[in-house]
Assembly symmetry: C2
Homo-oligomer: 122 residues x 2
DNA sequence: GCAGGACATTGACACTTATCGATGTCCGAA
DNA sequence: TTCGGACATCGATAAGTGTCAATGTCCTGC
């Protein structure tokens, strides 16, 4: 059974301590780029909710190394899963991670809900 | 009656177009800094939900021009309101703006709710 | 084993951003 | 009117980031 790690307190519900702020900022930084937002939403919009890198360079309009770089940033932030299948690498969105970030931005403290933050602290 | 401006489509609900992605990324960039997250939460945690700059430099541990800079970034993103009272300037959080950003990060399309995105597009 | 394709990594460059000291502007008090 | 305090702006600097061409690694098919 996976450990349930509580998320950091919502931004507007009290004073964030320094490490919570660092962690949340680091996740937000991964999201705060138009290319990465589009990659994330493009991948999630695929019929099977995944895409390999070769299908992403053209919609992104960027070179393969650049797309690879952005995917790596999203992957390191826990927002994308990586799966290697043969010569290809498939990326899949992790909605729970995005949900955890959303929870950290909640205006009011969220209702208690088990497993809301699966995937680690934000 | 104020115009209700719909927010951009949620990231995971379909493919974001370029201008939506730019707008959302720009709002997220304003949030994606530990100093700014702490300023925002500190201000919101005050008894009267506001604070003047002179009360923020010490908790932030930064120089007055630097704090002023961060407040300006949050203000330009619509996350803080600015009010000048005599020689002092008071900043107040704008929860609706944060809520609009959260909505844009929703995993599923949100239920229709009037005035959910008051304050402009994200 | 060899050739070619898919993806990651490296190195370099331009651009942005966080930070501070110095200075400017505006306000209230004397 | 003058002085001092609160805040913003400016200029400079160091650190971070997005981008690409070149190169490296790994897999598949021949």
């Amino acid at each position: 059974m996976p450990k349930v790690v509580p998320c950091c307190p919502p931004v507007l519900s009290g004073s964030l301590d320094e490490s919570d702020a660092e962690a949340l900022a680091s996740s937000l930084k991964a999201l705060a780029d138009p290319v990465r937002l589009r990659l994330l939403s493009f991948i999630a919009a695929q019929p099977d909710r995944e895409a390999c890198v070769c299908h992403l360079t053209q919609p992104a309009g960027l070179s393969q190394p650049t797309v690879s770089h952005h995917l790596q940033v999203l992957h390191r932030a826990g927002l994308l899963e990586r799966e290697k299948r043969g010569a290809w690498v498939y990326y899949r969105a992790v909605p729970a991670r995005l949900e955890a970030i959303r929870a950290a931005l909640a205006t009011r403290p969220p209702r208690k809900r088990a497993r809301a933050a699966v995937g680690g602290r934000v």
